[in-house]
């Protein structure tokens, strides 16, 4: 409510200011769930039409939806939840966004400032609990700080290496009132995300690039976050260098291009991992050498000079020593390298021999499978999905075997089309992130490739999908096992399948129907195509396709934990 003061400047409540800040920030979508501590804010949201609130069914779903929204667009995802359990339910999503550098801002309600520390109803130390899994967090303790804190939150989340920011708002702050002015600039003396790239580093990198006879470009999610796909592609094409992508980087280089070696790492292609092992120059672009990529550290790319481009200084030389570190925005760095090479028309070494070796490795065709029996191979479903959608759908996934098959076989030609949980590996990510993706891309086809174990972790969001008419296509690769757990137990625990069998599964067709959607069960390979085509024809309905797949299929190749890149299990 507006109050006039002596000098006639209007005053607004904290809740009003909150909504005004979102408007000023250009936010039109918030994923959330109401509760006691945020009721003033919900009341204000109810009174206006600028900011649309999407009601999820569980706070974890809200955060994953915001992640899907952010990853599939270039915008910041926004979440609003209540105190206590609202905040703790959001933690998994926040940690997920932290690991995968997703720009989201999560607003959590908090008990009144006078009650903080008293173990009040629905009180939890949100700032304390979220501290290890946020880029930064704030608690607003004075309504006068509301606007500047929200401004900072959006700035921090989206600048430098993006990440989640939590803003904790005690209920009384949303009642208190003050004047409103949204700052147009942020000043934080302790936060300097824009690092100027050193010319020297660029020059040294250029020399190495031009001298290399066995180069590999290893590009990750940082290329997508920095919107540097076209710049990187242009440079790679000019140099004729092979390119491999991390799980998070898929789509940052065209998946069907001849120079693409497919994904690398634990379940990466034979050619990508062999090239990483044998290369003389490793150009890491927006990637962080995590353990699923490197395998055994002391056997990793033993003969390579490492150029590492990253916006986060702490990523450089954390796991693998970078001989030529380039700290700064990936796009700027790639542009500067291109300027030195492409504009000056400098030529790299002839690498025909290297390509001959790579093509030799390619002959292993390490993602191959045979669809010969009457049982549907999970890979076949992903393959058909790729063909039928012309590789142009937004694909979200959960975590496990289906995720790896989707990553291996769906060839992403554009960035921001592949939405998955890489770092944290969160089962339950697929469906809510598909919701966020669909909201950000309302006219596009969004498919969630999942498994019968993962989908049940956020299955409640089928209700949200009905409420907002989200025509997501769920591709459930149902092998009645937690497939990746079963695979590890088969390989490393002498087939003792402890708790990896999914007993007492629901009838997913009826489940989908009871949520108001269309459900189909497909158990013959010959029915796969029609099922996918028919589902896509349902432009305004969610379709749940339950594919009954081969229980014994494993993801290959595989590098066992702690093994070197050239020690792949191929089948």
């Amino acid at each position: 409510m507006k109050q006039n003061t002596d000098n006639n400047k209007e005053k607004y409540t904290g809740a009003e200011i909150f909504v005004k800040c979102l408007e000023a920030e250009g936010i039109d979508l918030v994923f959330g769930y109401p509760g006691g501590a945020v009721l003033h804010i919900y009341d204000e949201l109810h009174k206006q039409n600028e900011v649309t609130h999407i009601l999820v069914r569980h706070e974890q779903g809200a955060v994953h939806a915001a992640e899907g929204f952010a990853k599939s667009s270039e915008k910041v995802g926004v979440v609003l939840v209540t105190s206590g359990p609202g905040a703790t339910n959001a933690i998994t999503g926040i940690a997920d966004a932290y690991m995968d550098s997703v720009p989201i801002v999560v607003f959590t309600g908090q008990v009144r400032t006078a009650l903080i520390g008293n173990d009040a109803f629905q009180e939890v130390d949100t700032v304390g609990i979220t501290r290890p899994c946020v880029k930064h967090n704030f608690m607003i303790t004075d309504v006068k700080d509301m606007a500047s804190t929200i401004k900072k939150a959006f700035y921090v989340a989206s600048s430098g290496r993006p990440g989640p920011v939590v803003v904790d708002i005690p209920k009384d702050i949303t009642e208190d009132s003050c004047e409103f002015e949204y700052p147009d600039k942020v000043h934080m003396r302790s936060y300097r995300p824009n690092i100027e790239i050193k010319n020297n580093d660029i020059n040294t990198a250029v020399k190495s690039i031009l001298n290399s006879k066995k180069p590999v470009i290893y590009a990750g999610g940082g290329v997508i976050n920095s919107n540097a796909s076209s710049e990187l592609t242009e440079l790679a094409k000019y140099l004729n260098f092979p390119v491999t992508n991390t799980l998070m980087g898929l789509g940052c280089y065209p998946g069907d291009d001849d120079q693409f070696l497919q994904m690398l790492g634990m379940h990466g292609s034979y050619e990508a991992n062999m090239a990483m092992h044998d290369c003389d120059l490793l150009i890491a672009v927006g990637a962080r050498f995590d353990d699923r990529i490197t395998g055994r550290l002391d056997k990793f790319s033993p003969n390579a000079t490492v150029i590492h481009i990253d916006v986060d200084p702490s990523s450089i030389s954390k796991n693998i020593k970078a001989h030529i570190p380039i700290i700064g925005d990936v796009k700027d760095a790639v542009k500067q390298i291109s300027k030195q090479i492409i504009e000056k028309k400098l030529k790299p070494q002839n690498i025909d021999e290297w390509w001959a070796q790579i093509n030799e490795w390619r002959k292993k065709d390490s993602f191959k499978y045979t669809q010969d029996s009457e049982i549907i191979k999970p890979q076949y479903v992903v393959d058909r999905l790729y063909d039928i959608t012309n590789g142009d759908a937004f694909i979200t996934s959960d975590v496990g075997q289906h995720q790896m098959w989707a990553a291996q076989l769906y060839k992403f030609n554009k960035p921001r089309r592949w939405i998955n949980s890489g770092g944290l590996g969160t089962m339950g990510f697929g469906l809510p992130s598909a919701m966020g993706t669909q909201f950000a891309n309302p006219d596009s086809l969004v498919c969630c490739v999942t498994g019968e174990a993962s989908i049940q972790m956020c299955i409640q969001e089928l209700s949200t999908c009905l409420q907002y008419g989200l025509p997501i296509k769920i591709i459930n690769l149902n092998n009645r096992y937690m497939g990746m757990v079963r695979q590890w137990q088969e390989f490393f625990y002498e087939k003792r399948y402890a708790m990896s069998y999914m007993d007492a599964l629901p009838d997913f067709v009826k489940l989908a129907q009871s949520y108001g959607h269309i459900g189909h069960k497909i158990d013959k390979p010959s029915d796969v195509d029609d099922a996918i085509k028919d589902a896509i024809k349902q432009k305004d309905r969610l379709v749940f396709l339950d594919f009954i797949t081969d229980q014994n299929e494993n993801v290959f190749p595989m590098i066992a934990t702690g093994a070197a890149h050239n020690k792949m299990i191929l089948s």
Binding site: G128, R131, M188, S190, D312, S314, I316
Partner: protein, 156 residues
């Protein structure tokens, strides 16, 4: 190897736990940590004594620098610097002979505080190494030891 890291950070609630949490979350060693307001009351200066190989120390510095409340990080052991620490040692009078007392009294870095009972408290301000030496010399008679952790400053 032992390293002393000086950190200038925002004097805000939560800043200390961000630093402490970072060390435990990433399994970095922490030998001592001391913190107090700096010359600018809106900031605090923290001295952290830690150990690790070069790669670990590089990560500690980078991770500290990444914290939003941290304004400046410097490793001060690699250059000329001064380090001081304070220690209190409580000793029963019975365990100190005159010769020992005389030695304590002559040491300019020591102060002797009498108590109302039969104990004395020796205050020692010196470099951490000298404090270690002193504590070693009294370890058999010390009832209680209180150390502050080191503070340090560059001197070049």
């Amino acid at each position: 190897m032992r390293h002393v890291i000086s950190v200038l950070l925002e004097n805000e609630s939560g800043a200390l736990s961000r630093v402490a949490g970072l060390f435990s979350a990433r399994s970095f060693n922490i030998e001592s940590l001391s913190v107090a307001p700096s010359e600018d009351l809106s900031t605090s200066r923290m001295t952290i004594v830690t150990s690790g190989n070069d790669q670990v120390i590089e990560q500690i510095i980078k991770q500290l620098d990444k914290l939003l409340d941290v304004i400046e990080v410097s490793e001060i052991t690699s250059n000329e610097h001064i380090e001081r620490e304070i220690a209190f040692v409580k000793i029963n009078n019975e365990n100190i002979d005159d010769k020992m007392m005389e030695k304590f009294s002559k040491n300019e870095f020591l102060k002797i505080h009498k108590t109302k009972n039969s104990e004395i408290i020796i205050e020692c301000v010196d470099s951490p190494q000298k404090i270690n030496d002193f504590l070693e010399s009294v370890k058999n008679i010390a009832i209680k030891i209180v150390r502050s952790g080191a503070v340090g400053i560059n001197s070049n």
